[in-house]
């Protein structure tokens, strides 16, 4: 069970949240000129790292706001929580 520190509500249990997957994937502005491979890369390809993962979470059963989390996918330790639109912090495990 994860204890996730929502930047708006403080630490809450995992059951209140929904994980939104990899963060910082920007929709390409020039989508009409992308090749199939480039579009596929945006749409489907994921980093899926073994280690620190920058991901989006939604406090679905709380304040219902989205935010970003830097979490280790092996230890599940949460290194940083930061708001949408902020740059990912550098994290040293």
């Amino acid at each position: 069970m994860l204890l996730i520190p929502c930047p708006y509500c403080g630490p809450r249990e995992e059951v209140e949240f929904a994980c939104g997957g990899e963060a910082h994937i920007a929709r390409p502005a020039n989508s009409d000129r992308l090749s199939d491979a480039q579009w596929s890369d945006y749409l489907f390809m994921r980093k899926n790292p073994k280690g620190v993962h920058y991901e989006r979470w939604n406090h679905a059963r709380g304040c219902r706001r989205w935010f970003n989390v830097a979490r280790d996918t092996v230890t599940h330790r949460i290194y940083a929580v930061y708001k949408m639109g902020e740059a990912p912090p550098s994290v040293t495990p």
């Binding site: 069970m1 994860l2 995992e14 994980c19 199939d36 596929s40 749409l43 994921r46 092996v74 599940h76």
Partner: protein, 417 residues
Amino acid sequence: MKSRYSIFSLARNALHYHRDWDQAWRSPEPKAQYDVVIVGAGGHGLATAYYLAKEHGITNVAVLEKGWLGGGNTGRNTTVVRSNYLWDESAHLYEHSLKLWEGLSQDLNFNLMFSQRGLLALAHNQHELRELSRRVNAIRLNGIDSELMTVEQVKAFCPILDCSPGKRHPILGASLQRRGGTARHDAVAWGFARAADARGIDIIQNCEVTGFRMASGRVEGVETSRGFIGAGKVGVVVAGHASVLAGMAGLRLPIESHPLQALVTEPVKPVLHTVVMSSAVHVYVSQSDKGELVMGAGIDGYNSYAQRGSEPVVENLLNALIELFPIFSRLKLMRQWGGIVDVCPDASPIIGKTPVAGLYFNCGWGTGGFKATPGSGWVFAHTIAQDRPHRLNEAFTLERFGHGYLVDEHGAAGVAH
């Protein structure tokens, strides 16, 4: 050549207090060069090696394993085998696998305890019942056995199911694949390992691949914790670690790794003679030959490589179980564990070539790879040996995420897995 397992060899060895059995497979030192190196000695990797030798006569093969063979998802699943998939591409692939299962114990000379006890998929509302009947028809059109059951038939087939109408999730009907069932998952790894070893294939455990050596777009071998091993071709079958290995070759995959949990109860006398699955309340359960109820449900919702999951997922699973089977409410749980599954956006596998010549990936089986073990190995061996996919796996390329011909099996046979 190893001595065959039979009732006579069992009796003969019993006379010697079982001290003289041959070892099932060797633990050889890796050679400097192989024709084919398979990364990952789970069921799929060992099956690939076995069929490379049996179907294509390629025996200069090594299977490299980071830990011990069959120690990953092969030994962590809920052992369900079935082929009731909706789309033609999947139906043909999984049905080919099921047909291999039906002769596999004899083929491998290893008792896989394959038991075609039937697989019941429940419907709990009218929409689900209509969807289930659509699937049954699609499956039958592909020549695969499947039948629709009324609630009365379900009650007669599996009397301990709570079929009372006033429930929160009443059972309105079900589909049944009588040829579906279970197999002893460890035996699958051991059987393929023993049979592959007998054909001269080296299975090298405690040998972690740390990188690929490539030159001018072609793979030349693998760097491992036991040194460089040269290879003409490399097949990677590493389930949850597919993205990690792909990264070593500079490739990106549409895969995310999630924990999938399973658990067993204390052993009880025979009470459940079939596999029961429900997508609406979300659980699948069968009873092992030891008497334990073996069950699982959905993945944990976040990326993980930790081989463990969160408790709320277990709680949901048990709620669903008790909803269907009030009779199980007093059972104690014995063990609970997690495996790391490689989930694809369309819930279908990727089996094929990569942009690197001589490098092949077999991954993305997600939550449903065990049933496909022999079929997956069979088509992957063909793909490696011929350097082109077999007709059965040509739809399951990595390129499908570019051209958009996905094989959407999220509702596979009415369950999420």
